[in-house]
């Protein structure tokens, strides 16, 4: 009854994005729209990557080639989305002010990190979905992986890596947009490099087998370390700090200040 595995892996991959969606995005139509739009841009990047992969016939079997180009195209489309979002900024502001929606606060637009976060999450959710949904579909049958010699932790590892990519894209969105806002090109390069690193390290998983499950750690650990690093960078970029965190969660001082 690997239905349990199916639900377990679904919750692992989509639990945090779902929580993020429910508590930070769902109430705000503008954010939902930006989320969907950025997801669409990721899909365009995927389309272009497939065309490139399909066109280069001799290298079709070499996954690594496809991965490299896919990463570059995704970042390109992230850049394009940034451009569009910033250009549309004034228009969106005008639209949001005409309608007297109570929950559309100007904060969405004065704080540029919010839309960066939303677009990063959009990229992440769709990237995560595409990376795991086929595997989830095959999980619902009566069998689990292993009869051909693969490791039994395949499903669990796939789910963890997919979660990782969702959160990584979210963090990179924040860093990327803020770096472009401030013309900090080194940061942009670092995001691209981090993405490349993550994708290439996942190729290590091909070496796994039922006796060699430890290989998965070779991709999981660096990926999660990268996640912690990117997450911290994004957190700091968005204006957070450890002190603020401590104040907000532990101390009661400053809770009643009007923003």
């Amino acid at each position: 009854m690997t239905l349990m595995e199916f639900f377990g892996c679904t919750f692992i991959t989509f639990g945090p994005p779902f929580a993020l969606f429910v508590f930070t995005i769902a109430r705000d139509p503008m954010r939902v729209i930006v989320l969907m739009a950025s997801a669409f841009f990721w899909l365009c990047a995927l389309l272009m990557s497939s065309i490139v992969w399909f066109a280069v016939v001799p290298l079709r079997d070499h996954l690594a080639f496809g991965v490299v180009f896919s990463v570059l195209l995704q970042e390109l489309f992230r850049f394009l989305f940034y451009k569009i979002l910033r250009k549309a900024h004034d228009g969106l502001l005008a639209v949001s002010q005409q309608t007297t929606e109570q929950h559309v606060t100007p904060k969405d637009f004065s704080n540029r990190h919010i839309m960066a976060y939303v677009s990063g999450l959009g990229f992440g959710v769709i990237a995560g979905t595409f990376s795991i949904v086929n595997v989830l579909a095959d999980m619902t049958g009566p069998g689990t992986i292993g009869i051909e010699g693969d490791s039994k932790f395949f499903f669990w590892t796939s789910a963890c890596l997919s979660l990782c990519i969702v959160l990584l894209h979210t963090a990179w969105g924040v860093i990327f947009f803020s770096a472009l806002d401030k013309n900090q090109w080194t940061r942009v390069i670092m995001v691209i490099a981090a993405h490349m690193f993550f994708s290439c390290i996942s190729l290590v998983n091909q070496q796994s087998s039922s006796d060699n499950s430890g290989v998965y750690m070779g991709s999981l650990i660096p990926s999660y370390l990268l996640l912690i690093g990117s997450g911290a960078a994004a957190f700091l970029t968005a204006g957070g700090s450890f002190v603020n965190l401590k104040n907000a969660l532990i101390c009661r001082k400053g809770r009643y200040e009007i923003e």
Partner: protein
């Protein structure tokens, strides 16, 4: 900036090289890593009769169980009592697949959810691969309730002689679980090496731990309950929609040919037709595993050879004053309560035999044959083996009392016909009833037709594999080729069985000549009435080894030629459903036309039944080869060969009482193209599954809580920098 760009591009290049170093991978759907599909489509399927449902089926998505291979008898106890991972899917060898074992397993459906039997041809002549005492899916008294003795207190229920000792009766049991046969080497390899021995085999008596290898067996059958209910459901108002018909009655075509062409405007005297008959079908438990050698092939090949010999002197017989008509009849569906013979008797009683045409029209058709026209009935049953070196003639005791003189004549005549031939015919015990035979249905309607049934057993069957996939050609020496022959050489090689059949066919032809004309054949005629051994061995090859043979290629129309060439196995002998004619009855029809008909000079478009003389049937076939290429002559054959429906009267009579048991009520459930499937996979331990689920729930819960808290306090956590201020990069 240029330096930076150069550094970046260099870095990218390095990464690219680094990544390309990794091993190449093709895209693989996860499903192919989880499941191993087996090729087998040889499943036991669901059948019905008027009162019961029989055969096998699984749940709609398939039955799942842990694979266990039975290697010794203790394994049965493990599966049924001790094994901790029930339910199991049992894999067994052919030698263990006998009635009692199968019953033990399927009756415990809580512990056994499916069975697979390894059915490979043995690598050497190892007789231990077969069940010791034989195997047959019929019961020990086949067709008892459909035959002459169903109400008999003396002979009913095989009180005198149990004919089919290895009979398991599985044909009439509702196994309720899917059962498959594995006849492909790679399938057996996968299930034993990749699945059972790797993951499931007990070590030193204790069971293995997870992950365990499991199988899913799917046999989705559409019909249920019994023939009556199934047909009613099929015939409901929406029956025009595809997929609404869920079962089909079994049936096929009977073939017959008469020596005389008596038209309807002449008289046919009572007691003027000699019928000589044999069956064309056998059955087995699994689709695609229908073999037969003794059960039906031995009989009908003998009849065809006798026919071929006899028709050489047809003019002599036809011109003899007062000669009796001879009808050769081939019945289909006899394994299922005599579908063919009961159908023929019924159509005789309706006056529609052999041709169903109005008699007030002025074109000619064959005079009908009714039960009162029958003079005698000689039937060939299984004739491949020998019992004490001889073949045996059986009679019905009551029938014998009624027609003492005639039956004595028949028996003496048959014995006399074997003179000078290498075949021996003896009389079986006179107090013994008839074995299961098509002629029983004739006796049920007219008890004074003298009947003699020729078989290869004196009492019980010598054939240990009657109606079974194990009724192999090797056992009757029909394929005893010396080693190293090519297929073409095997086709021409006269096997031991071919010689035996030729002798019997010769005796039969000589007997029929005398029985019809009343005069013994003189030496010239006797010589002519000798079966052609070459033709006999060709027929045996075509029906038992491969249909890709010259004899069949000559007698099929050109559009069927490809089917012969691409056939990998001999054609199946199972009757199948009515409306879907089997290859066997079609080929026998054409062979009969070839042996009894004459070639006429008509081209393909004109080779059809004459408007005014409907007695003759016309058949256009490929014919023999011309030259060395692929061209063939093209023959138009004109003959008196007819076919008629082998379709149980139960399905033709309005408001037939399905519980009466008067006629065969067998039907077959329908299934879809992808309804039969076996696949193998691993099942994880329940603990691992639970762990995965719990970790998922934990992650979900934690993320909800953390996100809620942070979202609520997001204003304080993320302090906004003023957009105009330039902040040094942090972190």
């Amino acid at each position: 900036m240029a330096a930076l760009r150069q550094r970046c591009s260099l870095w990218l290049l390095t990464i690219l090289m680094f990544c390309l170093y990794w091993n190449p991978a093709g895209s693989v759907r996860t499903k192919t890593k989880i499941y191993i599909d087996l090729k087998t489509q040889s499943a036991c399927f669901r059948t019905f009769n008027g009162t019961h449902q029989m055969g096998c089926a699984s749940s709609q998505s398939g039955n799942v169980g842990i694979v266990y291979y039975i290697q010794k008898s203790e394994d049965f106890d493990w599966i049924l009592n001790d094994g901790p991972h029930a339910p199991y899917i049992v894999v067994m060898d052919t030698k263990d697949f006998i009635g009692d074992n199968v019953r033990r397993l399927y009756k415990r459906s809580d512990r056994v959810t499916g069975i697979m039997v390894i059915s490979l041809p043995p690598k050497n002549d190892n007789s231990s691969s077969w069940p010791q005492d034989g195997f047959s899916i019929s019961d020990s008294c086949p067709n008892d309730q459909a035959g002459l003795y169903r109400d008999s207190k003396v002979y009913g229920g095989c009180k005198k002689t149990k004919w089919n000792l290895p009979g398991s009766g599985l044909i009439r049991e509702d196994l309720g679980i899917p059962v498959f046969a594995l006849s492909d080497e790679s399938d057996v390899d996968k299930i034993l090496k990749k699945c059972f021995f790797k993951f499931n085999e007990r070590d030193n008596g204790s069971s293995r731990g997870y992950p365990l290898c499991a199988a899913e067996l799917k046999i989705q059958m559409f019909g249920a309950v019994d023939t009556e209910v199934c047909l009613r459901r099929s015939n409901q108002a929406f029956s025009l929609l595809p997929g609404s018909i869920i079962c089909d009655p079994m049936g096929d075509k009977n073939n017959h040919v008469t020596m005389m062409n008596t038209p309807q405007n002449e008289t046919r005297a009572n007691d003027s037709v000699i019928i000589v008959g044999a069956r064309m079908d056998s059955t087995a438990l699994f689709t695609l595993e229908y073999r037969s050698s003794d059960t039906c092939v031995s009989g009908f090949v003998t009849l065809l050879a006798a026919m071929e010999a006899l028709w050489r002197v047809k003019n002599m017989i036809r011109n003899t004053a007062g000669a009796k008509d001879i009808m050769f009849a081939f019945f289909h569906g006899e394994s299922y309560d005599y579908i063919g013979s009961s159908s023929m008797v019924y159509s005789m009683q309706q006056g529609t035999f052999p041709q169903d045409l109005n008699s007030d029209r002025d074109d000619l058709h064959l005079h009908n044959i009714d039960l009162q026209h029958i003079h005698q009935f000689v039937e060939l049953n299984q004739v491949g083996y020998r019992d004490k070196g001889s073949l045996w003639m059986h009679t019905d005791p009551d029938n014998r009392r009624a027609k003492q003189a005639q039956i004595k004549n028949m028996i003496d005549g048959l014995k006399a016909a074997t003179q000078g031939l290498n075949v021996s015919l003896q009389e079986a015990d006179q107090t013994q009833p008839l074995p299961p035979a098509s002629s029983q249905r004739f006796l049920m309607e007219r008890a004074d037709i003298p009947v003699v049934v020729v078989t290869d057993h004196q009492a019980e069957y010598t054939n240990k594999f009657y109606n079974s996939r194990l009724d192999l050609a090797e056992f009757i020496n029909a394929t005893d080729y010396p080693p190293g022959l090519t297929e073409a050489e095997k086709y021409d090689f006269v096997t031991t069985q071919a010689e035996m059949i030729s002798e019997l066919a010769t005796a039969l032809a000589r007997y029929l000549y005398e029985a019809s004309t009343g005069v013994a054949p003189d030496p010239n005629v006797k010589d002519t009435l000798t079966a052609n051994t070459s033709t006999v061995t060709h027929m045996l090859y075509c029906f038992l080894v491969s249909p890709n043979c010259e004899l069949l290629k000559e007698i099929v129309p050109h559009y069927n030629s490809e089917s012969l060439e691409t056939a990998l196995l001999p054609y199946p002998f199972y009757v199948g459903i009515h409306g879907d004619q089997s290859q066997i009855s079609a080929l026998i029809y054409n062979l009969m036309a070839r042996f009894t008909g004459e070639l006429v000079d008509l081209d393909e478009s004109h080779c059809k039944t004459d408007d005014h003389d409907k007695r003759y049937s016309y058949l256009y076939v490929q014919g023999n080869k011309v030259g060395s290429g692929k061209d063939r002559q093209g023959w138009c054959i004109k003959s008196l060969v007819q076919d008629s429906d082998a379709y149980s009267p139960a399905f033709q009579i309005d408001d037939y009482d399905w519980k009466s048991g008067k006629y065969s009520t067998w039907s077959e459930s329908r299934w879809a193209k992808d309804s039969l499937k076996v696949r193998l996979f691993l099942v994880p331990s329940p603990h691992l599954q639970l762990l995965t689920l719990l970790s998922g729930l934990v992650v979900l819960l934690l993320s909800m809580i953390i996100t809620y808290l942070i979202a609520k306090r997001s204003g304080e956590i993320f302090q906004q920098q003023q957009p105009s201020e330039q902040q040094p990069t942090s972190g």
